[in-house]
Subunit: 384 residues, 4 copies
Amino acid sequence: MTQDLRIAMIGYGFMGKTHSHAYRTVNNFFPRKHRPVLQVLCARDSAKAKEFAETWGYRHVVGDWRDVVNRSDVDAIDICTPNDLHAEIAIAAANAGKMVLCEKPLSINAAEGERMVRAVESAGVANTVWYNYRRIPAVTLAKQLVAEGRLGRIFHFRAQFLQDWTISADLPQGGTGLWRLDAGAAGSGVTGDLLAHCIDTAQWLNGGISRVVARTETFIRRRMHVLTGKVEDVGIDDACEVLCDFTNGSLGNFESTRYARGHKAKYTFEINGENASVAWDLHDLHRLQYFDHRDEGIIRGWHSVHVTDGDHPYMKQWWVPGLAIGYEHSFIHQLADFLGSLETGAPAHPTFRDALQTGKVCDAILRSAKSSRWEETGVDWRER
Amino acid sequence: MTQDLRIAMIGYGFMGKTHSHAYRTVNNFFPRKHRPVLQVLCARDSAKAKEFAETWGYRHVVGDWRDVVNRSDVDAIDICTPNDLHAEIAIAAANAGKMVLCEKPLSINAAEGERMVRAVESAGVANTVWYNYRRIPAVTLAKQLVAEGRLGRIFHFRAQFLQDWTISADLPQGGTGLWRLDAGAAGSGVTGDLLAHCIDTAQWLNGGISRVVARTETFIRRRMHVLTGKVEDVGIDDACEVLCDFTNGSLGNFESTRYARGHKAKYTFEINGENASVAWDLHDLHRLQYFDHRDEGIIRGWHSVHVTDGDHPYMKQWWVPGLAIGYEHSFIHQLADFLGSLETGAPAHPTFRDALQTGKVCDAILRSAKSSRWEETGVDWRER
Amino acid sequence: MTQDLRIAMIGYGFMGKTHSHAYRTVNNFFPRKHRPVLQVLCARDSAKAKEFAETWGYRHVVGDWRDVVNRSDVDAIDICTPNDLHAEIAIAAANAGKMVLCEKPLSINAAEGERMVRAVESAGVANTVWYNYRRIPAVTLAKQLVAEGRLGRIFHFRAQFLQDWTISADLPQGGTGLWRLDAGAAGSGVTGDLLAHCIDTAQWLNGGISRVVARTETFIRRRMHVLTGKVEDVGIDDACEVLCDFTNGSLGNFESTRYARGHKAKYTFEINGENASVAWDLHDLHRLQYFDHRDEGIIRGWHSVHVTDGDHPYMKQWWVPGLAIGYEHSFIHQLADFLGSLETGAPAHPTFRDALQTGKVCDAILRSAKSSRWEETGVDWRER
Amino acid sequence: MTQDLRIAMIGYGFMGKTHSHAYRTVNNFFPRKHRPVLQVLCARDSAKAKEFAETWGYRHVVGDWRDVVNRSDVDAIDICTPNDLHAEIAIAAANAGKMVLCEKPLSINAAEGERMVRAVESAGVANTVWYNYRRIPAVTLAKQLVAEGRLGRIFHFRAQFLQDWTISADLPQGGTGLWRLDAGAAGSGVTGDLLAHCIDTAQWLNGGISRVVARTETFIRRRMHVLTGKVEDVGIDDACEVLCDFTNGSLGNFESTRYARGHKAKYTFEINGENASVAWDLHDLHRLQYFDHRDEGIIRGWHSVHVTDGDHPYMKQWWVPGLAIGYEHSFIHQLADFLGSLETGAPAHPTFRDALQTGKVCDAILRSAKSSRWEETGVDWRER
């Protein structure tokens, strides 16, 4: 009755690990018709690839992604490479009729993203982008509360993604685990890496962003580059600050940085509506803060909701109330929903088209940082 | 239309300061018919007494409390001496027909307290004991929620009063600011000093305590005594742990210590009822945590109530929502209520009789610590 | 040995209360040569003025401020009127040789502020502006940590001032307690009312702000005006979002609004430096969050500092460790420092000149909100 | 090079799921020589057993545990049955030379536990009890800090395990998911279920408990019993309060209940030492609170350590700093350590003998609850 879904994974880094874990685990907790099979691991460094494949149980190891996309023993391509390779691989995979699951951000820029959207849509293949944070149960609960209209008219949306891991001037551009500092591989710095998460969630929760004004900064302007071995100008943004307008009339404020000492991965958002507000923080990911002005006055206050009950999103499949799950489960949930969409034929949000809207906002942000002006995003947001 | 209430203060230490401030400030915020006047300050050290009197505007300075209790220009005696003097002064003051406001604990032991109660009651003078924490607005709000029956049947009451200021073995017994380490002056250690606060609030919120089992400990057993200049056995308890039964069938758990590293004055309590729970912490005294099981499931969680709204107890008299008041205001509130009771003729809770019930529990605790058995308290609690 | 400092208070609203309390209380806790005397209360509504004067013990009540500034029995004028009267009164008082204490913001705009600065400086009178939040002990501690260089190079400064009290469309413009909604009386909305506090603290902690880009919004655009009785366009800003550059190279992000449901007076700031960070929140004003990267790795984390110890700013004068003070104490501290400056002859920060720098930033923010461009502030910040 | 470790799981309930997940996942994250294989699932309800086996990939399904313990294709027996079956199965398994992994509590009482210890020790088989909370990284970090002597002399240990899921009087005794309410199957109520966790951690962190005084309560005294269909007396304890002495001279205070409205699984502990303190809360399991009195005074405060760095226990194997793991990982960690012990020959703590010490304390607690006296535990704690 179950059906194998043969996965080819391109890349074996941090995201290769989170995704592999999701593939191996999803059916243990979520009853789905499709059963992912770890069919092929593809990576250039064959020794490391072999070790990774053995750890996770991949059946085959391949060195060149071009040898993978057309394989008849593969149903879906999962792209976990640095950002600059996403487009080429995704388009080839789509053209070969494979489903495509792509790590975020979708692409280096929106133009590239447009081509990727056209490829998957004209090929008619299932596609999704791993903006995993939507599936943290507390975040999904926030979406549910917003969708039910509990907040009323929205006035404010604010989000931060604060880290502190690149403050040392000794970190090089590029190298193992450090391609995110290399503008060639990453496209941008915190804008594509961190802020893109905030934008994805923001538009999902609060609708399209119409215009932005932004300020980016590179605090450490020269670093050794691992490819050349020389100290070179740094091409990425270390910090990015954004004001924006949402089409629903609310104001947005975003900040992302890798120079916020004391914050490892502090991704937060808050929405203030006429009647109610919600707030969330990745550092305490299992809690949702909820304030409802309609509560009786003397006991009105932020509810600290421990999102671990059976009636909370995804949580019925896990443990019992009070027992938290972690970061990695967001990938399992996204995969469970992706597998569900294969059964129903519904789109697997965020689709490539959804993720393109995030890319448009990021592009406008980077344009504004250069022009010092407000820039239109061109986003036409709707849940598709 | 206003009427002077001439106060004689016995003692000028920490509590002398909090009370003097209350007398000087209460009418600025709380409209009351009576207007406290700082008439007499009484203390043995005349230099310090004079300085204190000047700072606070006391009209007269006297050295011996016996010269104060019969003065015709005094309406009320406020006792802020070490505990061992409370009884003698209070009884003399009552016999002289003065109102008596007494710092907590009421007395060294319940037997002494019984005599004090008889004195004020047979004299028919207004009397109150400064168990000030009842009047922290968040604590008063807790009382209101309990009194409204929101919690339903009560299962658990727990409280802690944790400090860490006597861990150093170099602290002497007695001396300025340290009479609390001298069993002769203080009667007991943390039991009378800290736990008494917990017991007062507990019985006020949850009714009488019928029996207790307790364990006390003196971690540092010998200290220099300032009166003798010699290293002597320490007579006070450094820590006190208590289990108890309330007459309403709920279980109590109390802990007080001066050896809890990291806690300056962490006085907390929590009540768990069938339908709802409340929790409070002196370290964040402006907040009350409230959980109501009747909240809708998906947004159920502890409400963090910032007790600064106009409809919260006492807060209409202060600033605007969001702006906190502090520790000292609890004394102003108690005084405002005391002055109010002079107008209505109602008792000024906690009265001497109320405070005696706390003393009975403390006595039973100290007895149990010696006997290693459960001890009956003999408390006959009711709000009088 | 003490010397009276005769105060004339103009206005009797919320700020009249906080200041009067400070005048009455400061000498009880802070030994100072000067002893404020509540000499004159000045307000137009004579019934209310009389009641206020009686409550607080003002000796005289006057209806017109012009009758006050030249009185020979007055040493200092304290301006607690709506913002549009600050300049005229302050200049007249300075010209009459009086010390001037002015509620914030200094003025409706920087041009007006320039004239006020010239007036007090050419008259050589002591002057200060009640940006009280600098003197919350936790905020003063943050200043101390920054001044000691503990944070190292600063990368980020962010601050919010979030309220929710004007969300109801039924609130009128103007009227008792509501002049802050009337652009005529207030000058601007949240920018002058809330954001000005953030800017004052920001420049004090982190140096001058050189340029800004901002977005303001008026969510409810028409409200009944109490003066005309008609529904009219609202002239104030309900929300204000700002990005800025500090002259030290760090990035700033500010947000103020009265439409953040769930926040009564949530004023927060955070500074991220190379080595350490600090964060504060008015809703828990007695705590400072401090992170130091130089702490040992495995126990590294934000320190939640309960700013109530004797070695914390101002706290030696109050109670004992663990016992919090509140909002109003910031005024007492500012007054204590003002009185201290009278003894030393040092400026009483924030002086009118300091506050003018805040005004320049606010002006630039409002200009940017209109121009949709980055605007230079013209601030020349230094601690004077 | 890897070696299969063939597991037979007895039971398929909540714990069957957590353990099965650990067996399937451990080698993906922790390099170990042994590779668990899900060989046999044993359970009485064959339909449910089959479904469970299919979900998790068990090779064989068996109905009677007696048919499992002697199978030659099985290396280790994992006991996840109700408590009353632990002893019989474990002893049979040990006698058959199988390794035994047993869910906690080890046994219904200490006498039974003694027999189990004798069985595994005389058979010389690897044995461990799933007191999983030791392996939450923040808890393991607490152990490390204590073991390094950072806390100095210990004064206090306190722990709570608070739940609220049995408050409804409609819950029956026994039945699916409810055998914990049936004294016949569970042995005791919260004492063996919740408090046992606290005791295990307490002795591990703070050494042996020498004597206890306790109070248990059954708030709802009659419930329908699923086996008889009749309303019967409830045999379990709903709440348990304990004071105790540790052999190191510190005082202990424990509380466990299923009647603490608002707490789902609030397991907390705190240790106060002369120099430092630690505190932890399962509801925010990824954080450890650490206070060190040796920190400089003005920035002294509780460190909120986000236990997600590579130098924190177990965390190098997971994600990157800031990204939390959850409840289930504690089982994976315990399994990783168990597999590690197979390589080194060291005991796999907590061994049956360790767990017996917990059982002795629980027995003394239940004895004290009946006798109303302090009871000696007979514990001879040492890390073996």
